[in-house]
């Protein structure tokens, strides 16, 4: 199984931090963004850590990815689609798929036997493209890969 990143939410750590601050702040969006910019990426990672610790995984759903997945059989793709209904598969050639997935499903897939190989392929793609490296570090631990 080989994954490559076609597209990702811009600045995923800040995207998650915006969602998290939205829950606990009465401020308008521009003030939340200014506050997050001022506090910087370490603070965004801190917020992600809190969300994962508290199992408030809804906030990480806003980090979305479009993946090109090669060497994935139709049978395995069907199993994954049944197990993880928030993923969307689009077959573009035999054993090659476009997959829409969010970070919560990625985390949940990684924590389950039937999704781990698939999730690990995506994590390798994230690592090699340096996308969401702060999120990967906090959510999966630096030693996971």
């Amino acid at each position: 199984m080989k994954a490559s990143i076609v597209w990702s939410s811009p600045n995923p750590e800040k995207t998650i931090a915006i969602a998290m601050r939205r829950c606990y702040s009465t401020k308008p969006l521009n003030e939340i963004q200014a506050e997050l910019d001022q506090k910087g990426p370490e603070y965004w990672k801190h917020l992600i850590g809190l969300a994962i610790r508290d199992k408030s995984l809804d906030v990480i759903e806003h980090f979305c990815l479009e993946i090109l997945m090669e060497d994935l059989t139709e049978q395995d793709a069907c199993k994954l689609a049944m197990s993880f209904p928030f993923m969307r598969f689009l077959k573009i050639s035999p054993n090659t798929w476009l997959v829409a997935i969010n970070a919560r499903t990625l985390l949940e897939a990684h924590n389950r036997e039937d999704g781990r190989q698939f999730a690990t392929a995506i994590l390798h793609a994230l690592k090699s493209s340096s996308i969401g490296s702060g999120f990967v570090e906090v959510a999966f631990g630096v030693t996971t890969l």
């Binding site: 939410s9 915006i18 939205r22 702040s25 969006l29 476009l98 969010n102």
Partner: protein, 174 residues
């Protein structure tokens, strides 16, 4: 009401992959892979209750457990605003609810419990992430004439923003 599109999937990135594999897919299939993230500000909780019935989306909404309720932060429906006597009754009721909230908080009742007295008219903010497929489905239901005015306006603005950002995906413009 304010609707801001924070980001969306770049369809050209997906189309480049399709081109590389010398395949094409109809917009209907592509719509599940185009994602939008919106910030929605100053809509009533009446409308967000309706909105979150659409489950193929991700939501994070301003919590009333911790945030202070402001007595100016209410939506007034036009049907009430246009009738002076109805508007007076409405405003009296909102004021009574706000005062009850603040008096209970002053007595040491946690905000998360005092909020039970607050009306659905209170304004709220949320972020929402959904696919073009979901947005199209929501728009079909919620921009119909029988939908309520506030969610109709909200979803109309969301769809307009989506069309502006990804025009090639939508067959019919507004």
């Amino acid at each position: 009401m304010k609707v801001t599109l924070l980001w969306c999937t770049d369809p050209t990135a997906i189309r480049a992959v399709l081109e590389r594999f010398q395949t094409d897919v109809p917009n209907e299939k592509l719509k599940e892979h185009i994602i939008y993230m919106f910030e929605i500000e100053d809509v009533s909780r009446v409308t967000t209750h309706q909105l979150i019935r659409h489950r193929l989306a991700s939501y994070d909404q301003e919590s009333q457990r911790f945030s202070a309720a402001s007595r100016e932060s209410f939506v007034i429906p036009p049907s009430i605003q246009s009738k002076p006597e109805a508007a007076r009754i409405y405003e009296e009721s909102l004021k009574a609810s706000s005062e009850a909230f603040e008096r209970m908080v002053a007595l040491g009742v946690p905000k998360e419990d005092a909020r039970y007295v607050m009306p659905h008219a209170i304004k709220t903010k949320l972020v929402m992430t959904l696919s073009a497929y979901s947005l199209e489905h929501i728009a079909e239901l919620r921009t119909a004439p029988q939908a309520q005015w506030e969610i109709r306006e909200l979803v109309t603005q969301m769809k307009r923003a989506a069309i502006e950002a990804t025009p090639s995906l939508w067959d019919i413009g507004y």
